[in-house]
Symmetry: C2
Subunit: 258 residues, 2 copies
């Protein structure tokens, strides 16, 4: 089985032109087959502001209506995605931008309405890797934005951490997959105020204890749930940390184990 | 050699939700390998207005600056392209959206500054069909918006009529290519006020006469120049007319001959 790296970058890189350009140069040089998934960043909110559109919140949660879905589609699939693809091409990394509608790669369904109707937010139902395999097997790197579709013509906003985990699982049938979550910290920290407190390995047992001890909470919980979902579904390796973990310039990062 | 249809649709279809949906249903049913290229439509100007951005004109020609290039990228590669791809998927036509940066498919260079600096407008230099061939040979339909790149990280606005002609020429090495320019008229008209005055065939000799007689002028000139460029460079068949020409529901259209 060939190996394949799937890498997620978030707002901390995307919102910083210099960081992003630097990351993409190094990403282009990474050897082997690879897939990139990018989150949104702050550009969508900025555009909404410019257009005088209020971002609707219910109980502190963002709601995606028709207008904000249009903005997400324009910013994520348009501006951000094409800017990344053009920069990769400049670095001789042949790539093709994707939403989940392209190649019917990620099919989702509208998040069920319980207490809150999130609007056009989709939960992933199925990943189809046929088209992606054609590309990666020819050394072309798919670059995903965090949009999916329901195969009935509707696009959905979807969490990028979930997309990257589901893509990794979809690819794991055909490749030995390593999944990398890049974010602003060196890894999962025992003490959020101490960069040197990186937890090197977390398995499902230690994970439970870390939650009980409230060392892992808030935004880290869904991220780590996505990690465990991947490692429990044939993904070979899951790591969280700064992008440097990919380029062997940092040995500090967290590895997720079964 | 397999046959391949390359079809261009413009603003008259893209700006009309119902017309577009109807076109995409019929397009999905078209048998054989196919590529779709879409122009921009009025959505980009509408967004610019909403954002309070003035579209700069010099001598009546539109200038693409950083702000309007961002808008073009968001609207054409984002909103319009993904909406078309999602609708095609709903109609069981597997498709992948492309700008010229994706797959390094269309490399352009900034239009030389003579009297006017058009800004981020690119003239096509080279078409690479490798990635596109992978897809079309697997019955996946590429859907192009009218953006290209210079392979140095810069995106460019590029005329959609030119893109479709250059793509057709690029594919003509590997496929028997038919190129269809869909627009709001039944074809090239002898009398612009008479829908029944469609000129059935134009060749390079009759073309010269039609220009001399001022029957072909204004916007039709660059369109027809693109047609002749294609037919003189190994493209098998070039037609101009309403989309109905594709679906055998109209026999009125103009065929371009060498």
């Amino acid at each position: 089985m060939k190996t394949l790296k799937i890498i997620k970058i978030g707002g901390n890189i995307i919102d910083n032109e210099k960081l992003l350009a630097d990351f993409l140069i190094k990403f282009s040089r990474l050897e082997g087959l690879k897939v990139l998934v990018h989150g949104g960043g702050k550009l969508a909110s900025k555009l909404a502001n410019k257009m005088g559109i209020d971002v609707k919140m219910i109980n502190g949660r963002r709601i995606t209506n028709t207008e904000t879905l249009d903005i997400a589609t324009m910013v994520y699939a348009g501006k951000v995605n094409k800017s990344i693809v053009a920069q990769l091409q400049a670095n001789n990394c042949n790539s093709v931008g994707f939403s989940g509608a392209d190649g019917n790669t990620i099919v989702s369904e509208k998040r069920p309405v319980n207490d809150i109707d999130f609007g056009f937010v989709g939960d992933v139902k199925k990943v189809n890797t046929e088209v992606l395999q054609l590309l990666v097997n020819n050394n072309v790197t798919p670059v995903f934005c965090a949009l999916t579709h329901d195969k009935k013509g509707q696009l959905f906003n979807t969490n990028a951490d979930t997309i990257v985990s589901e893509l990794a699982i979809g690819f794991a049938k055909y490749f030995e997959v390593s999944l990398y979550y890049c974010f602003e910290k060196y890894g999962v920290l025992k003490d959020v105020n101490d960069d040197n407190s990186v937890i090197e390995n977390i398995n499902s047992n230690t994970y439970k204890r870390l939650i009980e001890d409230k060392i892992i909470a808030d935004g880290m919980l869904p991220k780590l749930n996505n990690c465990f979902h991947a490692i429990e579904n044939q993904v070979n390796k899951v790591c969280i940390g700064k992008p440097e973990m990919l380029f062997q310039t940092s040995s500090k990062y967290t590895t997720i184990e079964k």
